[in-house]
């Protein structure tokens, strides 16, 4: 039985700034990290591996240096790590990305019985939340998004029941396997790698699959297979604020001024 976690290497967006002149991301010197939501997808696959003895495989698409992120997955103990990387996959949008990932998942499920594909609910660089559902569509998997808890998993009956965390409510959903699940942070606490595992991970060979393995039509992948393209990235203009009152001499009066101001702008409800 196979459980796959899809992880993406992203720039640490807390450190990314937009160049105000060129409106492009300043990526120079910015470290790459594993997309935080994906760390929870990875952890959930490892948890199921520990509990049910399923095989946990981490999958990522990216440039060759994305290998570093897969190595981190190795350090927390995935059974296998595969990097999908080829020049022709570069510049992919969410459609092309989900096509390539789907092809890899299909290939992995030839040798093993696929149970679940885990993805983070979204990435912190693209924020589209489309790749997970895209994979589900391409592979005709039942899609369970925004899951914060697996309520029940029966691998013999091949059913799963999960709780979805929606705005202001929860939803309990049941589906037959195989499924694609996107997870939210609340689902688990990712494990921390032990030093022996980190040292072992340094020597593990991360498999790289290029298009000679996946054999996809080059028109459907990378930039060519991407109907969306980004025309402009910019920081929205922000109005200069104002200083009201004097908090040092009159804190109460100033607080009242602030409340009135917020009420007048409809930013505060009584």
């Amino acid at each position: 039985m196979l459980v796959i976690s899809c992880i993406k290497q992203v720039p640490d967006t807390t450190q990314v700034k937009i160049d105000p002149v060129t409106n492009t991301l300043i990526r120079e010197g910015i470290p790459f990290i594993m997309n935080p939501y994906d760390t929870h997808a990875l952890e959930e696959s490892l948890r199921l591996r520990d509990e049910y003895g399923v095989r946990s495989v981490a999958l990522s698409m990216g440039p060759p240096n994305a290998e570093a992120t897969l190595r981190k997955a190795c350090a927390v103990g995935v059974d296998d790590a595969i990097l999908i990387s080829d020049r022709c996959f570069g510049g992919a949008d969410t459609l092309a990305t989900s096509c390539a990932l789907s092809a890899a998942i299909e290939r992995l499920s030839q040798d093993d019985n696929l149970a679940i594909v885990f993805c983070g609910k979204q990435t912190i660089d693209g924020d589209t939340a489309q790749v997970g559902p895209g994979i589900a569509s391409r592979l005709s998997l039942h899609q369970l998004t925004l899951v914060d808890r697996i309520e029940h998993l029966d691998l013999d009956q091949r059913t799963i029941q999960v709780r979805r965390k929606l705005e202001g409510r929860y939803e309990i959903v049941e589906a037959p396997l195989p499924v694609m699940i996107t997870v939210v942070r609340e689902i688990n606490q990712p494990r921390y790698p032990t030093v022996p595992m980190r040292l072992a991970a340094e020597e593990i060979e991360v498999k790289t699959w290029d298009n000679s393995v996946l054999k996809l039509d080059v028109e459907t992948v990378g930039l060519k297979g991407s109907p969306t393209w980004v025309s402009k990235i910019f920081s929205p203009d922000r109005d200069q604020g104002e200083i009201i009152g004097d908090g040092v001499t009159d804190p109460e009066g100033t607080a009242q001024l602030l409340i009135d101001k917020l009420l007048s702008k409809d930013l505060l409800a009584v």
């Binding site: 807390t14 450190q15 990290i33 606490q189 032990t194 030093v195 022996p196 980190r198 020597e203």
Partner: protein, 662 residues
């Protein structure tokens, strides 16, 4: 008086053999530990031994210690008397009487007097345990162990009484003429007895003395009184590192990281555990213990000993022991995880132990195991570890913003040709709102004094102090290597820091990476600038009554006590008031050892305890020299609803004295 040698000789032989066997067993247990070099620099070690074992420097630091010290010296002197006594049993012709008469009489006099002194000391010790035991001897953990102490005291008292009765009877019989004033008093009491009765008293006293002495000898290695045998070597084999920081680990495959089982400790750690007398001084100064956390440094050491005793036999056979060294719950011979995480690494325990046992380093060794081998730690540390590793600061702030605090000072890059000092700002100084104000004060003072300085700005990375104390040596190691490489590459040789944690780590821990730097804490630098007349303070800072709180990593770990006090005095015109617990006895703020990044849910909050102590003196300003202390003291004051007392770093006090009068 003739001794029945057919009874005595076998008894003596069995006792000596059994004693040797017990010692051999203990040595075997100690040899289960890993290797560690503790025999270098013999001269320095010898000096330590003289100071701490023979002169009992720390023992006498507490009022009752004098009693122990007298017992110690009496014990050494009476060892001669007892040696003679045991030999006399084997070879009746061997006795003090063989010596020239003046020497014989002199020694007899001394032995008699010392025996009385011993009896007096033992009586005081008895009374202390029974009637006026200090808190740390009276708690539920140590009370059961008092039995053993009373047994030993009882044996020593019996020895002395038997000694007097033996010699008293002999004097009454006219067999002993030597000057023994106390025994002579006993002789007078016995004077009315018949010769036969006197002989019986002498013989009985001799046997009581002999049997108690042989039993005593055999109790030693099997009780906490093992320290009588191990304390002296333990002081010789102590750590010569000041401060006693953690040793490096080598990160290679197949290595073990930290201590997860008793046999992973070094042989010296195991010797420590067998040396502990359970005097309780360490628990009496431990901030975690005092505020009700499950950590007790004495138990840490005691549990190592119990674990070693329990697992020793199977370990000697080459199998692993059954009793766990670390578990969730504390048990006899097992330390609890919560106890290990409660340590602030303040070093008070290490600093107070009369026989130089190193409690705190053992805790860090076990933390290393938990973090590196098991990845088990309080969950709030996950964020800290990831922030430190990925963004090289504890808060996870953008590294690019590291230099922002100094935006009003203009560009101040470090350059080996143009700047004398590297100002290593530290994570708190660069990101913490309150500590940033201290950074500005330090910078202003250096500018005023005409010192040239620069900094790394966004290139600076965390020193790794908290990581190391928390046992995440792997990540600390990477940071230390990166920092050392950068210091070498940029030609840094003199560093000023505004944080005692950066200060101690750069100065002491990085030495293990082959880097000797001149690191100076800002309080020391300011003191020097004032002394040299480079920094003129035009007026007194008006901060009312000040009190100074010692940072553990500046004070106890690095022996810097006077600089901050002198600076406060120079800047305010008055010496700061002192806490009840100050200088070497300073009490931690609660944030050291990585506790800064952890919740404090059990017992009283350490900072509350410390702030309450400050408030007893009714200060207007609480002065600190560390950004962690700053946070803890400010929080503690808020917690107690006492925000009219302000907390100021020493640099801020000076900056105020620099400002022109309004």
């Amino acid at each position: 008086m003739s001794i029945n040698q057919t009874i005595y000789i076998p008894l003596f032989a069995v006792s000596v053999l059994f004693f040797c066997y017990s010692c051999y067993q203990r040595l075997q247990l100690i040899s289960l530990g890993t290797s560690e070099n503790r025999t270098d620099r013999a001269g320095a070690r010898f000096a330590k031994m003289l100071t701490y074992a023979f002169a009992q420097k720390r023992v006498v630091q507490r009022p009752f210690g004098l009693n122990h010290s007298l017992l110690f010296w009496a014990f050494l002197l009476l060892a001669l008397a007892n040696g003679e006594f045991l030999l006399e049993g084997l070879f009746p012709s061997v006795s003090l009487a063989l010596l020239p008469t003046p020497l014989h009489y002199g020694l007899a006099y001394v032995f008699d007097a010392v025996s009385l002194l011993t009896l007096a000391c033992v009586t005081i010790a008895f009374a202390r345990r029974l009637f006026f035991a200090p808190d740390y001897l009276g708690n539920e953990y140590s009370s059961p162990r008092s039995g053993e102490a009373l047994l030993i005291l009882g044996m020593i008292a019996s020895l002395m009484i038997a000694f007097f009765m033996l010699h008293g009877a002999q004097i009454a019989l006219g067999e002993a003429a030597a000057s023994r004033p106390i025994s002579a008093l006993f002789g007078k009491v016995f004077a009315s007895l018949s010769v036969a009765s006197l002989e019986s008293v002498a013989l009985a006293s001799w046997w009581v003395h002999a049997v108690v002495l042989l039993v005593f000898m055999n109790v030693l290695p099997r009780s906490k009184h093992m320290h009588i045998l191990t304390a002296i070597p333990n002081t010789y084999l102590c750590s010569l590192e000041q401060p006693n920081t953690q040793l490096r680990e080598i990160f290679e495959k197949g290595q073990r990281f930290g201590v997860g089982a008793v046999e992973h400790f070094s042989w010296k750690d195991l010797l420590d555990s067998l040396t502990c007398t359970e005097c309780g001084r360490c628990q009496d100064v431990c901030p975690a213990h005092i505020t009700g956390k499950p950590l007790n440094p004495r138990r840490i050491v005691h549990d190592i000993k119990v674990n070693l005793m329990a697992n020793g036999p199977t370990l000697k056979d080459g199998f692993s022991g059954e009793l766990p060294m670390i578990a969730e719950e504390q048990g006899e011979g097992t330390s609890s995880e919560e106890a290990l995480w409660s340590c602030t690494t303040c070093g008070a325990c290490v600093n107070v132990c009369p026989v130089l046992i190193e409690q705190m380093p053992k805790i860090v060794k076990m933390r290393r195991h938990l973090v590196q081998e098991r990845a088990e730690f309080p969950e709030e540390l996950l964020t800290f570890f990831e922030n430190a590793e990925q963004r090289s600061n504890p808060w996870g702030m953008a590294p690019a913003d590291r230099g922002k605090w100094s935006s009003l000072l203009g560009e101040r890059p470090f350059s080996v040709d143009k700047t004398e000092y590297l100002f290593f700002v530290g994570c708190a100084g660069a990101f913490d709102t309150r500590a940033k104000q201290v950074s500005v004060a330090v910078a202003t003072i250096m500018d005023q004094a005409g010192i040239t300085w620069g900094m790394f700005g966004k290139e600076e990375v965390c020193c790794g102090d908290s990581l190391r104390r928390l046992g995440n040596e792997y990540v600390f190691d990477k940071m230390a290597k990166a920092n050392v490489e950068m210091f070498i590459e940029k030609g840094v040789s003199k560093i000023v820091t505004a944080c005692p944690h950066c200060f101690s780590t750069l100065k002491n821990d990085y030495r293990q990476y082959g880097l000797e730097l001149e690191v100076i804490h800002h309080t020391e630098l300011i003191e020097k600038l004032i002394q040299d007349g480079k920094l003129k303070l035009p007026r007194n800072a008006e901060l009312g009554k000040t009190i100074f709180h010692d940072s553990c990593y500046l004070g106890r770990h690095n022996d810097t006590y006077n600089a901050p006090r002198n600076v406060i005095k120079a800047a305010t015109g008055n010496a700061p008031a002192e806490f009840g617990r100050s200088r070497e006895n300073g009490f931690c703020c609660g944030a050291g050892g990585g506790r800064m990044w952890m919740e404090e849910l059990t017992g009283e909050r350490i900072n509350r305890n410390r702030v309450s102590e400050a408030l007893e003196q009714k200060p207007d300003t609480l002065c600190v020299s560390c950004p962690y202390c700053m946070t803890m003291m400010e929080d503690g004051l808020k917690d107690l609803g006492n925000e009219q007392v302000q907390v100021k770093d020493v640099a801020e006090v000076v900056a105020e004295a620099l400002m022109p009068k309004q």
